[in-house]
């Protein structure tokens, strides 16, 4: 199920603007990797190149390679839709589909693609995904109610359930807890810990305690100044990054001296 990700000399451009430069990173399967760094340093941009979501913006393109278990996702003839069905994504703000019920939201990956599911299959997927997202007990009695009626934390876990329902190999999370209260954050962090048994999880976070709590390895991104490209400064075991980093910039950032 879970696949490894390798980026080789990856440059990300918005039109002519070089946003992220020269990223080399190897992300192991069944692990949690956290991206930290100041705002605008390109960690979200880099995350979105891992499932080609950055291409939603006109003019965005990359140079270099991103390998998903050895297959280049930017290779000629690769359909971004195929990539995205293997690399799921959870966004900063919970975004359940407002026109759909909780159940339909979980099944959105199938329903929107026009796949027919038998009722028993659909029910099984809904229960498995919602249990996987630690949401089943809270919503099992109101599966036909609108998803937008849930609290923010529940909505975010619904979005995670929606993502794992289509059984991707990798789950990308773009600051999944920044719009949530501490209790909901705790629920999502517990969930991330469970998810790594089956998936490769990559998470962008501004919260360094969160990175320390949930991740196995941490990547620190930084930017030299406005208009300059973001770079991967240091990538190591989380304990190394937070306790004895190699780079001075990393130490300054994690110890709160800047940023």
């Amino acid at each position: 199920m879970a696949k490894r990700i390798d980026a080789n000399d990856l440059n990300v451009y918005y039109g002519k603007f070089l946003a992220v430069e020269g990223v080399n990173i190897n992300i192991e399967p069944r692990s949690v990797t956290a991206f930290i760094g100041p705002s605008g340093c390109g960690k979200t941009t880099f995350l979105r190149t891992l499932n080609r979501m950055h291409e939603v913006l006109p003019g965005a393109h990359v140079k270099g390679k991103v390998l998903l278990d050895g297959d280049d996702i930017y290779g000629p003839g690769v359909d971004p839709v195929t990539v995205r069905s293997q690399v799921g994504m959870v966004f900063q703000r919970p975004n359940p589909f407002p026109t759909m019920s909780i159940k339909e939201n979980v099944l959105a990956g199938f329903k929107l693609n026009g796949k027919r599911l038998s009722k028993s299959d659909a029910d099984a997927i809904v229960e498995k995904s919602l249990r996987g997202a630690n949401l089943w007990n809270e919503v099992k009695d109101r599966l036909d109610k609108p998803g937008s009626g849930l609290s923010g934390g529940q909505q975010q876990r619904l979005c995670i359930a929606r993502t794992i329902a289509v059984e991707p190999s990798v789950i990308l999370m773009d600051e999944p807890c920044s719009a949530l209260d501490p209790i909901s954050t705790l629920a999502v962090e517990d969930l991330i810990n469970e998810l790594k048994n089956e998936y490769t999880v990559v998470i962008v976070t501004h919260n360094m305690q969160q990175a320390a709590r949930v991740s196995d390895k941490t990547a620190f991104f930084n930017i030299a100044g406005t208009g300059k490209p973001g770079k991967l400064i240091e990538y190591a075991e989380t304990s190394t990054i937070f306790n004895n980093p190699v780079e001075q910039a990393t130490e300054d950032y994690v110890s709160g001296r800047f940023g």
Partner: protein
């Protein structure tokens, strides 16, 4: 707790003690009418009524000198009231309150003036049209065989007012339905292109500019375009001249007016669909056309539907483009692609300008007002429908 007060407690308790010890003396005389010191010096609540009554009396007196009429009486009274309130407040209270009241009165006055034409139109049409729509057979019969003879008899009180709007109602409904069927798919797809696919390229900017221009073109131009276009098409296929004057030509003329309205309103609605939903769908591995069809459109559908309904309401009252494309007739015609067709606005126009019996125009006037009332009711129903549809299709958010 110690008995010694902290500085904070001291600060809090002092003013309270001061006010309770000295509060009685000045409050006593001022509280006569249930007022506190805070409301002292204010005008009593009945002041506006008193000033209003005085203004009405003064106005009546002025009108009595120059000859009484109700409109003048109300207008002069209103002016006198505004001036009077300003003067009274200025003398009894202060300049700030007087200015505040003056502007409030002027704004209320402007609102009432804006309501006058609206209410006046509604009142005129209802009072004049009521007699028309309550004639027996007004909705069921057309004007076939209704000659001046019957109208002269009706005006002389020797017979009922015959004839009705059946043919015009049928024509309006058919032409409007055909217009909707032509315009909605084109308008909807065009706006989907503009919002979802164009990436704001030069072509889309040109389309948007011309759509804006088209929303403002005079409707007669749309009519002439459709008439010329259909004439060219028909003569290309060798049809006899004049065969292009059919209901469908009118529907094309109205489509020229309706498509830009649908494009604009739908575009606005699609733009307010949050980008997050498109991204959420794309991240699930859903193709763009499916995302548009199953996420974007359902989210915006209530706004789109009400926009379309309002666009229909806009074209249902067009006269000139129908007159030059579908002509006019006295018989009911159910066929959109053959023979001339009547529509309600054209019916009203013809009943007013060319009465069936020129010597006895009264029955034609009654029929015209009746048609106008039906048209207004139609537009009103469409507006209500738009609201109902918007409410019915809106994404449900309850249940937290």
């Amino acid at each position: 707790m110690t008995t010694q007060k902290t500085p904070l407690e001291d600060a809090v308790s002092q003013p309270i003690a001061a006010s309770t010890s000295t509060g009685d003396a000045p409050a006593g005389p001022e509280r006569r009418h249930g007022r506190s010191r805070l409301t002292a010096g204010q005008l009593p609540k009945w002041t506006p009524y008193a000033v209003g009554a005085a203004a009405l009396v003064l106005s009546a007196a002025i009108m009595a000198l120059i000859g009484f009429n109700v409109a003048g009486w109300v207008i002069i009274a209103a002016i006198a009231y505004v001036v009077g309130m300003y003067a009274v407040t200025l003398i009894r209270e202060n300049r700030r309150k007087a200015t505040d009241g003056l502007w409030r009165n002027l704004i209320i006055g402007a609102f009432l003036i804006a309501l006058v034409p609206l209410i006046s139109v509604m009142w005129t049409v209802i009072s004049n049209g009521w007699q028309g729509i309550t004639q027996p057979g007004f909705f069921a019969s057309d004007m076939q065989g209704i000659t001046g003879k019957y109208d002269r008899a009706a005006q002389a009180g020797e017979g009922p007012i015959l004839g009705g709007i059946a043919h015009a109602l049928v024509g309006t409904l058919l032409i409007t339905a055909a217009t909707t069927i032509i315009s909605v798919p084109i308008g909807l797809l065009a706006s989907i292109y503009l919002v979802e696919y164009s990436n704001d390229n030069l072509f889309s900017k040109i389309i948007r500019f011309f759509v804006d221009v088209m929303t403002g073109i005079p409707s007669i131009v749309a009519g002439l375009f459709a008439a010329g276009f259909m004439l060219a098409v028909f003569s290309f296929f060798g049809a006899a001249p004049g065969a292009q004057t059919i209901g469908l030509s009118a529907a094309i003329a109205l489509s020229v007016i309706m498509i830009p309205i649908v494009v604009r309103s739908t575009e606005e609605m699609l733009r307010v669909v949050p980008n997050e939903l498109r991204e959420a769908s794309a991240a699930l591995g859903v193709r763009k056309w499916r995302t548009t069809l199953k996420v974007v459109l359902p989210t915006a559908i209530s706004g789109i539907a009400s926009g379309v309904t309002l666009a229909i309401a806009r074209v249902v009252g067009e006269t000139a483009p129908i007159l030059v494309t579908a002509g006019f007739t006295v018989a009911t015609n159910w066929n959109l692609v053959k023979d001339w067709m009547m529509a309600l606005p054209v019916y009203i126009y013809y009943q007013l300008t060319t009465p069936t019996a020129p010597q006895a125009p009264e029955p034609s006037m009654i029929r015209a007002w009746g048609g106008a009332l039906v048209l207004i009711i139609l537009v009103m129903l469409l507006n209500l429908l738009a609201r109902a549809v918007a409410k019915w299709l809106a994404p449900k958010t309850a249940g937290r």
